[in-house]
Symmetry: C2
Subunit: 138 residues, 2 copies
């Protein structure tokens, strides 16, 4: 289990923050987003998520377990050889995933504004440095 004492304390202070962390975690976001479209088998999901950013099988498994425990993801393992496990969203998980996707879509829409802001910021910073240098020279 990955839950450290520090997190236990955090949970005590504000339990729903932990859920938020799970949902907005690096791989949680991507998994939920993918599962919003359809159900996936494990390595299928791994590939799908991997289209955006590579995820180790360990982290994906861990993420899915957390999401399952929180009641967002349903896992059904068919008892066949070779094993086949399908992951899908519960109704609760669907709600969460929609929120997350909304946020993700928003960031996509506003990327240009963010880009501009960054350039302005970097330019301003650069100008600041130049002035500083000038001051030193006299």
């Amino acid at each position: 289990m990955g839950v450290s004492d520090k997190w236990a304390r955090a949970e005590a202070m504000c339990p729903h923050r932990l859920v938020l962390e799970h949902v907005t975690s690096r791989w949680g976001v991507l998994a939920l987003d993918a599962l919003l479209d359809r159900s996936y088998r494990f390595s299928e999901l791994r590939r799908e998520v991997g289209r955006v950013a590579n995820v180790s099988e360990k982290m994906l498994a861990q993420t899915l377990q957390t999401l399952e425990r929180d009641g967002f993801v349903r896992r059904d393992a068919k008892p066949v050889i070779p094993p086949r496990v399908d992951y899908s969203l519960t109704p609760l998980g669907r709600e969460a995933a929609e929120q997350v996707r909304a946020l993700a879509r928003w960031t996509g829409l506003r990327m240009d504004a963010v880009q501009q802001a960054r350039e302005a910021y970097d330019r301003a910073k650069e100008a600041g440095r130049a002035q500083e240098g000038e001051a030193v020279l006299r």
Copy 2:
């Protein structure tokens, strides 16, 4: 700068994911949420965020810089002694913060469902273990 090569690669693949990470980062969420209500001075914000989870001044500063660079947070430092720096949301940041707060509120509302799911999960897991033990005994 804390941007590692790994993140540079991630940015190349999918730039808006990075923004999402900033916004949903541990301290980003709390800062945005706090600033949605009003503007704060640095250590005032530190205290406010600290009501939920303690944040080192280093991490708060880092978080605020990232958010400022992305154009979410406006920072105005009054040139007075002692220094006074006010942080507030830009219109863009307000949009982001509202999304984040929506997500946060949703988790709060659904905490009971999550709790139940967790208990069910843990019970099922426990039952599984018990059966396993039984099987071993015969």
